[in-house]
């Protein structure tokens, strides 16, 4: 049964139906926890709110200047794209969702969000907050879905080093850190480099910030050990955005099977 679930995912139907039946029970169980968190929020100090307010105002001011130039740039961009006959960038659908709670399974890093298949969430969609990628939708229930965070050991994200364009894959490494694996020891990666999604997998949109390199250890054998920390507030984000492609990714070109020469 364990093997059937973990390796072949045969039991999803059973899980789906039972989870719908159990949903009211789970919600009832979540109420006390919600009450406690609401109460603590209520008693949060005024100072914190004021500080947050000040910060937001500063941020709004900083953004305003950019916004002012946005329309101008957009038009210019469109003209240039038209000139160069470039394909339109992939359009994106996005759904804002609230993080309900952290899943209780201690062996993985997952959160439950309040949008499910009824809101057209599908497994594989990217979940971001305002800073960067948080994780990926891995399991969709009718009214909720399960998001595997970047820091989960089983979660892999194809990335590109922003400075050099070097491609790689980031895995969760436990304790809130990430690891950029399978780069040779002499790869051009420095602490402080930003990693963004490469979009090569056809699931993640290209160019979303993922992580920042913290340390590079080249003493090991063939591959460098590159430790990164996520850019987004993975694990603390309360509101997230579920991104999906408006049109499905193009089919992978399968080369025709080579006809054997006789």
């Amino acid at each position: 049964m364990l093997v059937a679930d973990l390796h072949f995912r045969y039991l999803e139907v059973v899980r789906q139906t039972l989870s719908v039946v159990l949903y009211p029970v789970e919600m009832a169980a979540a109420t006390p926890a919600e009450f406690v968190s609401n109460a603590s929020k209520y008693f949060a100090t005024l100072i914190k709110v004021q500080r947050e307010n000040r910060e937001m105002r500063r941020k709004a001011l900083a953004d305003a200047e950019r916004l002012l130039r946005q329309t101008d740039l957009e038009q210019e961009n469109k003209r240039l794209r038209g000139l160069m006959a470039m394909s339109e960038r992939i359009s994106v659908t996005s759904v804002a969702a609230d993080v309900l709670y952290e899943a209780r399974d201690v062996f993985s890093r997952k959160v439950i969000v309040d949008h499910g298949s009824q809101q057209d969430v599908t497994a594989g969609q990217v979940v971001v907050d305002e800073l960067g990628v948080v994780g990926q939708v891995t399991r969709v229930y009718p009214i909720q879905s399960e998001v595997t965070l970047l820091t989960d050991k089983a979660q892999a994200v194809p990335v590109r080093v922003e400075r050099t364009g070097q491609r790689g894959v980031v895995y969760g490494a436990g304790e809130g850190m990430l690891e950029l694996r399978y780069l040779l020891a002499n790869a051009d990666v420095q602490p402080g480099d930003r990693l963004v999604t490469s979009g090569l997998d056809g699931l993640f949109l290209p160019g979303l910030p993922v992580a920042r390199v913290v340390s590079v250890n080249r003493e090991l054998q063939a591959f460098a050990q590159i430790v990164c920390e996520p850019v987004a507030r993975v694990g603390h984000a309360a509101q997230v955005l579920i991104l999906g492609r408006a049109q499905p990714a193009p089919e992978r070109q399968v080369p025709p099977p080579a006809t054997p020469k006789d």
Binding site: D5, L6, R15, A29, Y101, R104, D105, E146
Partner: protein, 173 residues
């Protein structure tokens, strides 16, 4: 049945619906999203251990399996992870029940602790074989807190059975 085999007091027979109601409440408690907080007892394991020690005829491996699957789904864990551990737990608890019931509740809790630790160990082994990361030693604290709750549970859950039908000072019920 007595509270323990040494006791001279005789309890009323257990009500089956009360056993399953308490298990259901435990399930509800285990669904409270406490996140990664260490030391939260595994209520379902605790209640299953309690009833399979006390009522071997009522709660056994089948009950353990069903409640294990329900916990798996609620927690989003691997399907069968809790089920496997709870089946082993109820089997072991049924097996030690005759011996454990000779002891006072505090001594019982010491003997239950290894069973609860066994449940967690089984789950850690299963998930690490499947490639999950080790959750840290704090994970095992929940067994200790579970064992500490054994004594209060003993009185709370046996309370309906302590109630005499009609009061009679000459009868030891």
């Amino acid at each position: 049945m007595q509270p323990t085999h040494r006791s001279r007091r005789i309890l009323r027979p257990v009500r089956i619906w009360f056993v399953f109601l308490s298990l259901f409440v435990a399930l509800l408690l285990s669904y409270i999203p406490t996140g990664q907080l260490p030391g939260v007892p595994d209520w379902v394991a605790l209640l299953l251990a309690f009833w399979s020690v006390r009522e071997r005829q009522v709660v056994g491996m089948g009950t353990g399996f069903v409640f294990g699957v329900l916990v798996d789904i609620g927690h989003g864990a691997a399907m069968g992870q809790h089920a496997l551990a709870y089946v082993l737990l109820t089997y072991a608890a049924n097996a030690v029940s005759r011996r454990v019931l000779w002891f006072a509740p505090v001594q019982q809790s010491v003997q239950i602790l290894p069973l609860l630790l066994g449940v967690q160990l089984v789950m850690v082994v299963v998930r690490m074989l499947a490639g999950a990361e080790f959750p840290g030693w704090g994970y095992f604290l929940s067994s200790v807190s579970g064992a500490l709750l054994w004594l209060p549970l003993h009185f709370v859950l046996l309370l309906p059975q302590f109630q005499p039908e009609e009061r009679d000072d000459n009868r030891p019920i």
